[in-house]
Amino acid sequence: MSLVYQLLVILAALVVLAELLSEKSIKFKLQAALVLIPLVLRALKIA
């Protein structure tokens, strides 16, 4: 995975994190948290 793609994944993770923090609905917050997990693992080059 090149640095460019890693930066894109970090950007996506930040967007989802912002969504998690600003969303009012518990259901959508939970969805954002679930989406965040693989993004964090990919951004850190773990999985």
Binding site: M1, Y5, L30, I46
Partner: protein
């Protein structure tokens, strides 16, 4: 007051959810990282040197593709052969046969190169949608040994994302985008290509620089796949492959012979035969763990190959290999590969005696079929 309470509750919920994300990430990380540790293989009595693949192409030095190359040199004139295991790290009979060879073979004539994990990157992860185990255990003569089970393609950690369509560089052939990480669609490879193409290029460079006479790529296939229990041979390797089939028939082992299709590009038996002087061959054994008809996929399925769905598939005439309640155990699949290798070397010695590769210490097909793998590991 009410607004403040709501704000506080929202903030607490955010903290709880973020804590869950962190805990899940911390919980799964050791498992993923453990798969990247190099597998401990025993250096057999015939191994004279362990090199890195980057010795033949610097471009992969220090990367996950810089796999070990075991060299078994008799010191006597003869031919040279390269055995590739783990081109697909989800085909355990292929790399277990290579491991068994490097831990037991003692060459009496010629030189043998063994790459047990040709795509070492593919061994560092499993496909999330396949649900296969990460490892399997054998109670070997040398003690309990754990072997890893990986994936068909290069890890996305090393090459990602995939394009929509994979275009094979030298032919322009178009395949599904995921095939861009398949080592056996990347030959002959490119020095300035993607990660998988660079591994392929390094292997091609080894064959060219060290004038390898025979290259044998060890694979497995799903029982419903038509090319199975067979040797696939480049046209220049056909006489050797035919001789090997006859040698195996004498031993009571039935093996098919498939010509390498000229139009199917990127595969070892096609590209290595076309772009180098080596005799390029590939062997396939039946592996239910890869199949679409399989039931529960666990360590037992890897080791025993027993699957009631495949027995049913056989009765319905959907398979290309006999399948009954006995299954296709790993030791029998490895026996076919090891027996096949010896048969190929014997056939090559008949056609080119001055370039013969003679090996001692390798268990026969019958020994592996009856005693299993454990005494030889």
């Amino acid at each position: 007051m009410e607004l403040n309470r709501q704000h506080l509750s929202n903030r607490n919920l955010n903290l709880v959810l973020l804590a869950i994300v962190v805990i899940v990430c911390l919980y799964v990380t050791p498992g993923y990282l453990a798969m990247r540790r190099p597998e401990a293989l025993r250096k057999g009595p015939g191994v004279t040197r362990i090199a890195h693949l980057s010795e033949w192409f610097e471009g992969i030095k220090g990367t996950a593709g810089d796999t070990d190359v075991y060299i078994l040199d008799s010191g006597k004139p003869g031919g040279s052969a390269l055995i590739l295991g783990g081109t697909h790290a989800n085909e355990p009979a292929g790399y277990m046969a290579a491991i068994l060879m490097l831990e037991n073979a003692v060459p009496a004539q010629g030189r043998l190169y063994i790459i047990p994990h040709a795509n070492a990157s593919a061994l560092t992860y499993t496909d999330p949608m396949e649900g296969v185990p990460r490892e399997f255990t054998l109670q070997a003569a040398s003690g309990k040994r754990v072997f890893r089970h990986g994936s068909r393609a290069t890890s996305p950690m090393n090459q990602w994302p995939d394009p929509d369509i994979y275009v094979h560089a030298s032919s322009g052939q178009q395949l599904s985008g995921s095939e861009t990480r398949n080592l056996n669609r990347a030959y002959p490879g490119r020095a300035d290509g993607n990660f998988t193409e660079m591994i392929a290029y390094a292997i091609t460079s080894l064959i060219r620089k060290d004038s390898i006479d025979i290259t044998i790529d060890l694979h497995e296939a799903a029982p419903e796949y038509p090319v199975i229990n067979a040797i696939v041979a480049h046209e220049r390797a056909m006489p050797t492959a035919s001789g090997a089939i006859l040698n195996l028939e004498i031993e009571g082992v039935v093996m098919g012979l498939e010509p390498s299709p000229a139009s199917l590009r990127g595969l070892s038996h096609r590209e290595l035969g076309d772009s180098t002087a080596t005799l390029a061959l590939l062997m396939e054994s039946p592996n239910a763990t890869q199949g679409r008809l399989r039931g529960r996929t666990d360590e037992a399925l890897i080791l025993t190959g027993k699957d009631s769905q495949y027995v049913r598939g056989q009765k319905l005439g959907r398979l290309f290999v006999p399948y009954d309640e006995k299954g296709w155990p790993l030791h029998l699949r490895v026996a076919r590969h090891v027996g096949g290798l010896q048969a190929i070397f014997a056939a090559h010695a008949m056609t080119a005696p001055e370039r013969a590769i003679v090996l001692g210490g390798v268990p026969t097909y019958d020994e592996l079929a009856t005693k299993r793998l454990e005494p030889f590991l």
